[in-house]
C-alpha cells in the first residue's frame, strides 16, 4: 500500500509535468506553415485527395516504410518465439464449430477480403488506406480461423505476399531515387486526374503493397498465435 501511495504521488508529479506541457494549449485556430503547405500544395504536388494519405505515403513515406518494418519485425519475432521446435507433436484435436458459423464465414471472408482491398486501393481518395485495409484483411482471416480452426493457413503464401510486397515497396522507393527526385518520390508515375482511382502517382501502388504487407504481417502474427493454440 505504501508502494501504491508512492506511485500515486509520482503520478501526480507526472500529471503536473503534463499539465505544464499543455497549460498553454487552447486549440488551434489555423494551420501552421507545414500543414498549410500540405493542404494547399499537397493536391498539386502529390495528387492525393486524402491529405493524410499524401502525408503518410509520400511526404513521410520513410516513416511508413519504417512502420511496416516494425510490423514485419513484430511478426518475425512472434513467429520466432512461437515456432514449434522440431520434434514437438502437432496433435490437433479441435472442437468443431457450428455449421452456421462455418457457412457464414465461407461467405463473409471473401467479402471482408474484398472490402479490405477496396479500402487500400481507395486510400488516396477516401478515408482508409494500407493499414486499415491490411487490418481488415487480417480480421477476415481471424473470422476464418474462428470458423475453421483446423484450417491450415498457407504460411508460404503469407510469407510470399509479405516479402514480395515489402521488396516492391523498397524497389519503388529506389526507383524514385533513380528515375525521379528522391526516395519514394511520388512522381514516378504520372499524377493523373485528381480524384480518380488512377491518380496520385505511385500512392495507390504503394498503398496496395502496404495493404498486402500489413495484412500479411498481421495474419502472420495471428496464425502463429493460432497454430500453437493446441500445443501445451
Amino acid at each position: 500500500m505504501v508502494k501504491n501511495s508512492l506511485i500515486f504521488i509520482v503520478l501526480i508529479g507526472f500529471a503536473v509535468l503534463l499539465a505544464d506541457l499543455f497549460v498553454g494549449f487552447n486549440g488551434n485556430t489555423d494551420l501552421n506553415i507545414l500543414a498549410n503547405h500540405y493542404a494547399v500544395s499537397g493536391p498539386e504536388e502529390v495528387g492525393s485527395a486524402n491529405l493524410v494519405t499524401a502525408v503518410v505515403v509520400t511526404y513521410r513515406g520513410l516513416d511508413t516504410l519504417g512502420e511496416v518494418t516494425i510490423l514485419f519485425l513484430a511478426a518475425a519475432i512472434v513467429s520466432f518465439l512461437l515456432k514449434v521446435e522440431a520434434g514437438a507433436s502437432r496433435n490437433r484435436k479441435l472442437r468443431s464449430t457450428s455449421e452456421i458459423l462455418d457457412t457464414a464465414s465461407r461467405i463473409l471472408v471473401p467479402v471482408i477480403f474484398l472490402f479490405g482491398i477496396y479500402v487500400f486501393i481507395n486510400g488516396h481518395l477516401s478515408p482508409g488506406g494500407g493499414f486499415q485495409g491490411g487490418a481488415i484483411i487480417a480480421s477476415g482471416l481471424v473470422l476464418m480461423l474462428l470458423a475453421q480452426p483446423a484450417k491450415e493457413v498457407g504460411h508460404k503464401l503469407i510469407t510470399l505476399v509479405e516479402s514480395i510486397s515489402g521488396i516492391s515497396f523498397v524497389l519503388i522507393g529506389v526507383a524514385g531515387v533513380l528515375f525521379a527526385a528522391g526516395f519514394l518520390d511520388n512522381k514516378l508515375l504520372p499524377l493523373g486526374t485528381f480524384g480518380t482511382i488512377f491518380s496520385a502517382g505511385v500512392i495507390p501502388v504503394i498503398y496496395i503493397f502496404v495493404g498486402l504487407k500489413v495484412g500479411a504481417e498481421l495474419s502472420g502474427i495471428i496464425t502463429n498465435l493460432h497454430e500453437n493454440q493446441n500445443e501445451a
Binding site: V52, S139, V142, I221, I222, L225, H226
Partner: protein, 81 residues
C-alpha cells in the same frame, strides 16, 4: 455544442472503462474494457475530424489488438487446464 457534450460523455466513458480495464479482477473483462476504450477513442477521432485515424483505431486498436489479447489469454488458460 452537441459535439462537445458527446465528447464529454465519451471522455468520461473512456476513463471509466480505462479504470475498469486496469482494476477489474477478471482479465477478460479488462481486455474487453480496453477494447471499448479504443472503440470510444475512435469515436473521438471522428469528432476530431480524423476519419483515417478512427478507422485505424477501430480496426487495429479495438479489433485486432483485442483479438490478440484473447488468443494469448486463451492459450494461457488452455495450458493451465
Amino acid at each position: 455544442m452537441i459535439n462537445l457534450i458527446i465528447a464529454i460523455v465519451i471522455g468520461v466513458l473512456i476513463l471509466i472503462m480505462a479504470i475498469i480495464a486496469v482494476h477489474h479482477k477478471n482479465i477478460v473483462v479488462g481486455i474487453i474494457a480496453a477494447g471499448v476504450v479504443s472503440l470510444f477513442a475512435s469515436i473521438l477521432y471522428l469528432l476530431l475530424a480524423a476519419p483515417d485515424v478512427a478507422m485505424t483505431e477501430a480496426a487495429i486498436g479495438s479489433g485486432l489488438s483485442t483479438i490478440i489479447f484473447f488468443y494469448v489469454l486463451n492459450k494461457i488458460k488452455r495450458q493451465n487446464g
